[in-house]
Amino acid sequence: MIKRSYFTSKTLPYLLILPQILVTVTFFYWPAFQGLMQSMMLSDPFGLHNTFVWFDNFISLFKDPLYLKSIGITLGFSAATAAVSISFGLFVATMANRALRAKAVIRTLLIWPYAVAPAISGILWLFLLHPSYGIVSIFLTKTFGLDWNPVLRGNDALIMVIMASAWKEVSYNFVFFLAGMQSIPKSLIEAASMDGASPFRRFWFITIPLLSPTMFFVTVMNIIYSFFETFGVIHTVTQGGPGGATNILVYKVYQDGFIGLNLGSSSAQSVVLMVLIITITVLQFKYVERKVQYTG
């Protein structure tokens, strides 16, 4: 971390880091502190009546079956989103890596959804999967006789937001997997083929294990994405419904805090999320430390 040849100056380094610190403290630490305080208070929506209640908000939160359900939904949603986008991304990346020609074109054709806002992705998929006029749902209903109705049925709604969220992440994962695969030394693959491994076995026994650091990173990023950035998707598509089936944690923070105006509970939920994210970050760093080495 420390460069050997540093500069010495009494004030300059402080001046240089100052803007960063200022912004961070103002818009990060102070709000986070406030959030923490708020999470231990009962307040009216207007912040005019505040009662300090210690951990009551947290206690009632974890006693609330709906919050627990929301945790479950979030986990399921994230896992599914990650699983769909990772497996699809991995699959396409594998194919692209096999393709000898046109890698650049393929990448161009696959990369752009990354740039689409989650909210817009939600709109697109809503349009595709809407029960009464979405082309995909019509296709599903007509072809497979499925009774597809995300407006009514929680599972269908969940599938819809998973699709909309995963779609966008596919390109992100694709980029990483392709890069990961390309950084696996060719000689390893060649050694495996000398050892008599078929393409499929090479993929299974060499590529996948060697991709595990990338896989881990991508998983973490996907989880963070589906925990937070999918807010736009949920907000535009289901608003947490039907019957709370798509009410993921971050949406619940918004719904309870901004729509329901229950600030204490909402803040407590934010704090829970913060702790969660910090844990993930720490894990991520720990893992990165002992990353598998490619060469050697």
């Binding site: 709000p31 959030g35 595709l128 934010s270």
Partner: protein
């Protein structure tokens, strides 16, 4: 590889095409929808042959959604976040990597604790912060009884109410999102890979810290900057919850938020054609940025991993 696997090769390309098609389908469908008149688009199922109403719909979206102003806002917000983040984080990383000072570790930890925490989890207090930047000062004034002290000194009641709001301002859209360590982290990683000898050579050549930064480090960071420009521009452009909360003036709204006005709500006619036209318009700029700057973008993304 060397195996003769024509079937596998063919499958590879078939699957690739399929993959690209699946990934591309929503946009193709949106494109078609955007060319149709309202009657066609609300037909079930929607015809898959493009119509001729594209420009009409685009225009409708443009006007109805106030997209002209909002695209400009989005652009300002995205660029502001991009430039702000890059400036702040580059200087910060420079300080952390190239200087040795007492509080360096403190600064490092302070900054990097924020690495992965998205705005969403601290949204409410951040909002209040943005609403009045001097809130904490006022609070301290009250809580610490400074007012009373000042009053005692001045001999009369002193009321201080500093008031500086970032709501409905570009600063408000931008600044709170600049507070993240991802870029700083990336620059730090990059600076650590810059050979130490380069810095030493510059020192032997008589360069001061800032000269080294301007003349050597900055030019060397060009590709990293380019990568970050793409990533942060897309990030800024696609922000949702924050601008949703902080802007109330329609002339300050960003395009992604404004787009919600185009989506047929319970109380509108299903103008999906216009909604799709609007969506296309709003998603176009970041897509173009990503496509045109693909090379750097990929590099930047992948380097984040490290």
């Amino acid at each position: 590889m060397v195996e003769k696997t024509p079937i596998l090769d063919a499958l590879t390309y078939i699957f690739l095409m399929l993959g690209i098609l699946i990934v591309g389908f929503p946009i193709i469908y949106a494109l078609i929808a955007a060319t149709l008149p309202i009657e066609e688009v609300s037909r079930v199922p929607m015809p898959m042959i493009p119509g001729d109403q594209f420009m009409v719909n685009i225009q409708a979206a443009w006007e109805k959604g106030n997209l002209g102003t909002q695209l400009v806002n989005s652009f300002i917000m995205a660029s502001g976040i991009t430039i702000g983040k890059i400036c702040v984080s580059m200087l910060g990383a420079f300080s952390i990597v190239y200087f040795d000072y007492r509080l360096r570790t403190v600064a490092f930890v302070t900054v990097f604790c924020t690495l992965m925490l998205p705005v969403e989890v601290r949204i409410l207090p951040t909002y209040e912060m943005a609403a009045n930047l001097f809130g904490p000062l006022n609070l301290m004034w009250e809580k610490l009884g400074l007012g009373a002290v000042a009053g005692w000194i001045a001999g009369h009641d002193v009321e201080i109410n500093l008031d500086f709001s970032l709501l409905d301002s570009y600063t408000g859209l931008i600044l709170p999102l600049v507070a993240s360590a991802t870029c700083t982290f990336l620059f730090r990683q990059f600076f650590l890979t810059v050979p130490e000898e380069l810095c030493e050579a510059a020192k032997m050549d008589g360069a001061s810290a800032m000269t080294f930064f301007r003349k050597i480090l900055f030019p060397l960071s060009k590709t990293n900057i380019a990568a970050l420009v793409v990533i942060e521009f897309v990030y800024g452009w696609n922000q949702y919850l924050w601008p949703l909360l902080i802007t109330t003036d329609p002339d300050m709204m960003t395009a992604v938020i404004g787009l919600q006005n185009l989506i047929p709500q319970a109380d509108d006619l299903p103008y999906w054609n216009v909604a799709m036209a609007g969506s296309l318009l709003v998603m176009l700029p970041p897509i173009l940025v990503v496509l045109f700057m693909q090379r750097w973008f990929v590099k930047g993304l992948v380097e984040r991993e490290k």
